[in-house]
Amino acid sequence: MTVSAAPPNNPSVETPQGKLRGRASIKQAASLVPRSVWPLLAFLVLFAVGGVIRPNLITVESLIGTATFAIILAIASFGQTIAVIQAGIDLSVPNTIGFSALSFLGLVGPLGPAGAFVGALATGAVIGFFNGIVVSKLGLTPIVTTIAMNGLLFGVILLVFNFSELTAIPEFIVAITSAKVSFLGLEMAAVLPLGLALMVVLQLLLSFTGWGRSLFVVGSAAEAARLGGLPVDRIRVGGYVLSGVLAAFAGIVIVGYYQQASATMGAGYLLSSVAAVVVGGASIFGGRGSVVGTVGGALVLAQVSTLVTVLNLGANIQQLIYGVIILVVISLYGRQGRG
């Protein structure tokens, strides 16, 4: 990809062997479009397909419904995106979600809502810090580290929150997640603008700050980054801390939106968070990805879910389609050596 991006004005130049280069220049032109656009386009296509099948699906309400479902998955996948960009993976997302959600509810009593919020995010930071230290200092594979961490958290969840009744959801969390707000004249759950705002902040952080750019460098060529004088270990640890904090935030959001918490509440996000990131155009080898793309990926998955529900195909078909979509996406740009 980097090679083809080097002569950016090539597509406009007419070459003698125009016919031969036709395909190549289309490819080059396509490579100039940011990858995060493709999942969004795919979502629009799926949305239109839904409209063809059921014309009453093309409504703003239906769009908002799908987008709300998508944004929750996206929020749960933001941390995963950060981890994948720096050539890692975070399989401790599920139980980080559960742990932060339950600690949030547990801490509301003694610390008050704001204190509990900060406390829950801090647990995510500690989890991420530990992941990062083990990966960068001990040199364990990210997959193994985060799987072990996921197991450890499950034990801690069961030991600490053993069947305790945690049902009182503080007002302000409801206010920023499931409460209806009016935004641009449209009724929607507050989690939607919240998630989009978070997306913008994270994308700016990734694209326009030195630390954000360094995550990509570490992800695509860690050794070169080290030789170039970047503190690779510190950047890695920082990436995992951010990933942990975002997963913890997702836990609080999910508690607020669904108004319940349980030990296994994050289990569904193990594979689907990676799926949203991959469909969003990130490279599983690191160095490429964006939170905007992840939102697009989540929108695609959510729209599939909406279509499957409307057509009454059942959850099995939905899983099957998820699998096929991932296969299509990775065969489009997941080739080893190219991605």
């Binding site: 001990l138 072990a148 450890l152 034990g155 099995n316 899983q319 099957l320 699998g323």
Partner: protein, 339 residues
């Protein structure tokens, strides 16, 4: 070899290598730590709970660890060729329900063959996309995890199937007093795999592909075919694990494999296998699976809250995998200080 054989001076060398071969191989494959960990674990277990050595408890313990050990062996084969199988839990669920439902329709040997065939098919599906499609194993198996999982629920949507007491006795009973028959099956699979990996050309190619794909290809061997065969083989071994689980629980369950995704990777990690490929031991994997599988039991008998098993498993992984790294760092620092 011919050079060695023609030189009479070097004739004793091969025999000397042979005599220390076992230990050397264990160390090279990183299996010393998991084997010692298992021995310590077993001693502690027998001291805390001497009743393990009664017939009933031996049988229960064996039935608990054998499916995990088999699935971990499947994961190991994929890891040896430098891959990872995220879909292994789904393959297990699918083989499990195929076995359980087919028992109602066809004689048991046919059901066994069908289940093995499905495992092989799933493995080949992954293997084709990874070896011949050039796609990353983690992304391919993420997609197929969704696909196989959906197929499993399609075959059987809730726990059930035609498992009988006879099948339970044939797979999970005792061969002779004090010898659970499931251990015999595990031993047969493990020994056959060991012979295949250590004593055949194909086995050496599997290790070779994992440690250096380019050299294997440059040597004129078919690296892609080797990878494909490894994935297919892994699918079949996983299928054996799935059938053992179905038989010992006397049910087919479309979600039965879910828990084995993370624990199979954990067992392979604990066995000291390299996730970059080319290094990993069969005995280490089997014993690592036994250790992880029995921690819950041990805690139960020690009168400790068995939720601690998740925490302790994670700590064992961090310790056993991390200690050698810390040790070599300390050794390096000491050496540096002395010089």
């Amino acid at each position: 070899m011919s050079v060695l054989a023609s030189s009479s001076a070097s004739a004793p060398a091969p025999t000397r290598l042979r005599s220390g071969g076992g230990m050397v191989r264990l160390r090279r494959e990183g299996a010393i730590a998991p084997v010692s960990a298992f021995i310590v674990f077993l001693l502690v277990y027998v001291i805390i709970n001497p009743e393990l050595l009664t017939r009933f408890q031996l049988q229960t313990a064996a039935n608990l660890v054998v499916p995990l050990a088999l699935v971990a062996l499947g994961q190991l084969i994929v890891v040896l060729v430098g891959g990872i199988d995220i879909s292994i839990g789904a393959i297990m669920s699918l083989c499990n329900v195929v076995f359980a439902t087919q028992l109602e329709a066809v004689p048991p040997p046919v059901a066994i063959l069908l289940s093995l065939g499905v495992g092989l098919g799933c493995g080949l599906f992954n293997g084709l996309l990874v070896a011949y499609g050039g796609l990353p194993a983690i992304a391919v198996t993420l997609a197929s995890a969704f696909i196989f999982g959906s197929l499993a629920s399609e075959v059987l949507d809730r726990p059930g199937g035609g498992l009988t007491k006879e099948i339970y006795l044939a797979t999970s009973g005792e061969l002779v007093p004090f010898l659970p028959v499931s251990l015999v099956y595990l031993a047969i699979v493990a020994v056959l795999l060991w012979l295949l990996l250590q004593r055949t050309a194909l086995g050496r190619h599997i290790y070779g592909v994992g440690s250096n794909m380019e050299s294997v290809r440059a040597a004129g061997l078919n690296a892609r075919l080797t990878k494909l065969i490894a994935f297919g083989l892994a699918g079949m071994v996983t299928s054996v694990g799935a059938m053992m689980l179905a038989a010992s629980t006397v049910t087919g369950d479309p979600r039965s494999g879910d828990a084995y995704l993370l624990s199979s990777i954990a067992a392979v990690a604990l066995a000291g296998a390299a996730f970059t490929g080319g290094r990993g031991s069969i005995i280490g994997t089997v014993l690592a699976a036994c250790t992880l599988g029995l921690i819950g039991n041990l805690l139960f008998f020690a009168g400790i809250n068995s939720y601690w098993q998740y925490v302790i498993s994670a700590l064992i992984i961090f310790t056993v995998v991390g200690l050698p790294v810390i040790w070599s760092k300390i050794a390096f620092a000491v050496k540096g200080a002395r010089a």
